[in-house]
Symmetry: C2
Subunit: 290 residues, 2 copies
Amino acid sequence: MPDEFTFLTDLRAITTHPAAAGLADDTAQLEVAAGTLILTSDTMVESVHYRPHDPPGSVGWRLAAVNLSDLAAKGATPLACLLNYSLSGNAAWDRAFLDGLNQALTAYAMPLIGGDTVAMPAGAPRSLTLTAIGTAPTKVPLRSCAQPGDTLWVTGTIGGAAFGADGQPRDLARYLHPVPRVAEGQALAPLATAMMDISDGLLIDAQRLAAASDIAIHIDLDVIPLALPGPVLDAACAGDDYELLFTLPEGVTPPVAATRIGTASPGNGLTLTANGTPVPLPARLGYRHG
Amino acid sequence: MPDEFTFLTDLRAITTHPAAAGLADDTAQLEVAAGTLILTSDTMVESVHYRPHDPPGSVGWRLAAVNLSDLAAKGATPLACLLNYSLSGNAAWDRAFLDGLNQALTAYAMPLIGGDTVAMPAGAPRSLTLTAIGTAPTKVPLRSCAQPGDTLWVTGTIGGAAFGADGQPRDLARYLHPVPRVAEGQALAPLATAMMDISDGLLIDAQRLAAASDIAIHIDLDVIPLALPGPVLDAACAGDDYELLFTLPEGVTPPVAATRIGTASPGNGLTLTANGTPVPLPARLGYRHG
């Protein structure tokens, strides 16, 4: 299968880690110190998690970025990853995908050490999986440990990767090349009582954090940092931001650029205000993909 | 998406490992001792790696078994795994798949600690990935370290999972429920100079071992242990055996049931004899799937 050999040759060209010898040996070896590993795995399916016409380099970058964002939410340091790739039958697409993937793996020092390459039946959508391994910080922030009295914060800005009324991403660069907050996550891990990344939308993810922590969360819509001018609820219910949402004990200031957007209190559920007035929750708080 | 919630509930029911809390938290945590991990990941695609009408419990078992077989080839001890699952739109199929997967994970003490669940576009084939993590033995046998003068051995019998002239597996139970040689791999690792599992066919995998080790391998077709009576070349070129192929220094006897089928010598390539007479290599030595 020439496609596979070409792809594996390209793949090996981006794997400089000694363990990448495993690509020819069905398995990879990884030396680890005693401690806690953080493991995460995300699958992106064509037409579900990305648009068929998205540039393949962006698909490669995003596959790395979504996994790196999961590591970031735990304050983990990227260690290595494995790629499960469905050959597209389009060698140029495969090569551009690998280029984009490699840019992210290089930028975040997460070597590719193994995985699998499969052919798909003709016409089947691509299904791409990356499994990322990181070393945990001393204290791993979970989404379930926010405390009443905590303050709620978010890094960066919200809603840039959202799709506008024209059906296009409002900020195309942000959609195509999300930036995982790895360094920020590492700096926040020792301080945050709870942390998660925002992948499906600020409000739906805040609701998940509240439910996991068994607390109430209140968000002031007026202070949500918007990526672009526009309706705040549209931005707060849009996915693909890959910012970090976290809680800190009252009085603690985050060591990275972040905006205080709310508070945690006894109770449960998510409440919103704008201009000091309660705002009902939208029917749809974010993106629920499979 | 009710399918996903049902599936995740079923999934959590089979995950008793503490780290499985990660299924709700996008990431999993794994405590490890200092040392070497063995990582492997296999993707099985409907209509490529299994037949659409295969029982879903068998598909779940086989997905675990092919990964466990890769760990076995390194003498590794299963530690944990992650599942990337494409919802089938058929809750009964999903549940039966999980039952079969769980049987294998339980039998081989490899807890499921995380992964991802995705929806597929309507009509798309299922794509199922399992990533397995094991702890390496003190000496990890590679496929690249066979030495001239070594003897060549295989566990179990060959050709049972092959498809017969009627288009059906010759030994259906063997095809549906391959048995990964985990204990045998652990026993062999300290002694074997090279080891790999036979997934694509005895001859193609022996050729790969010869190429990786830069040696010549000779196999005596008369002594290959056949699962069922029939032409030896058919069996030796058939896939899905999941037996271990390994080399030992001359004079060393394997500590597990195995058959001596050949020798390694200086040079390169694979040669065959039957009744003491050279046999040309078949045009197709095994199964090359993507």
